[in-house]
Point group: C2
Chain length 283, copies 2
Amino acid sequence: MTDRRNKINRDRINLPIGLFDSGMGGLTVLKAINACLPAEDVIYLGDTARLPYGTKGKETIVRYTLQAVGKLVDMGVKMLVIACNTATSAALPVLRERFAPLPVLGVVEPGAMAAARASRNGVIVVIATEATISSGVYQEAITRIRPDARVIGRACTLFVPLAEEGWMKGPVVEGAAKRYLKDIFNPVVTAPRPDTLLLGCTHFPLLLPALRHVTGNSASIVDSAATTAYCAHDELVPLGMARAGRTGTCRFLTTDNRDRFARTGSLFLGRPLKTTDVELVDL
Amino acid sequence: MTDRRNKINRDRINLPIGLFDSGMGGLTVLKAINACLPAEDVIYLGDTARLPYGTKGKETIVRYTLQAVGKLVDMGVKMLVIACNTATSAALPVLRERFAPLPVLGVVEPGAMAAARASRNGVIVVIATEATISSGVYQEAITRIRPDARVIGRACTLFVPLAEEGWMKGPVVEGAAKRYLKDIFNPVVTAPRPDTLLLGCTHFPLLLPALRHVTGNSASIVDSAATTAYCAHDELVPLGMARAGRTGTCRFLTTDNRDRFARTGSLFLGRPLKTTDVELVDL
């Protein structure tokens, strides 16, 4: 059995990692994977035609995610990483069942782990899309790791279009951060002040300076990008499926508007992307 | 021929008007139609699962619009009103061809007409989504009606999610309006100041106070909702297809998340909508 598994893994080692996101925010996870697993090829698929997922109902999110991820599986991948918090929250169990034995990694567990480790007083704020917050998955995942934690979830819907518009600092984004979070970080009643802010959406790391404005300097701000990349590493290595001694390649697939993907994607990836680097696919 | 046409029109008079929008912004047009044609039944379809259309590429917008409008046509309607500026800009000629002889009305011509009439000095600013502005349809439509006009188009992407979040006043939306429009309404170089602002997106009437902050009190702010309703009236009456002497009904169809449709829809419609008023449809 072990021999057969090793044979399968040897056959699959050269396949790329499939990375799915509803849009371009997941490129922050790609950047972390490139840093942590530089030898791996990655295919990134952003379902930009149907973004945002964060304001949609659960059934729609599951249906769209299955279609998009199915496309990556058809292309041949050795592992799936669901970089979208909303898709992870709604669809991870369904994806694991549908595509078994393919390893499927989400961003929620890694993010919860990072927050649980970072907090000293156990008061943790999670900010994410409406769908992610109302699903309660972060709240559950953190208290599973750290039962004493007090987790406050807050939907920050506008942060997604703000980041996509490239408005990462200035009065508009600072005003939005204040409107969403001021009552939590500057409570009127005597309540323990949160010491950790978990960014439960891959778009939010772009808004760090504005968020820091509201949290103050003493709070930890953590996101799931780096931890997700470590988890991918920790899953591939014991399976004998991690590559080494080469520089991996990246393919970028989008379901709409290659120009916009290249333009906004560059912000998230932290390096320039050209329209000709991006392929259009139909789901 | 006229007899046959009259017979067809008599058969069709009792059918509803089909009103399509990518989301809930078109409810401002529904409100205007209810006021102008109170006896008509209306079926409103908002493709909320796939909104926003305004950041998508033209081909995707046309494909989605054809699917959604096809649904209304299958249900039986006597006229189609495309309340979404983005869908009108991208798909109106295709819709007219596909569904002829059904009258198909968009919001661009009525909006252009309203702006051309309102402006004294002929300097008109159109604000809309990225897709609408880059299509250039408003710029063309206005100069067709008024060849001396100088039309300045500006994409204001964030106004859509701001209106949907219900953030209609306060520092965030005022800051956004300033960032998008200040250079136009307070030009550094000596340029004629625009005297008219055309709201080329059905979401934008909700942001009126914040926009007024940037334009000043002397500029006219016009939108296409009322003019579109008048155009629908002017098209139905000569065809003998306008109803009278009754109070029409409204059906609300959405492709996703009935709760959110009812909650946000109430803002646009200006009267409360309950979740049970909204039907879920699949496209």
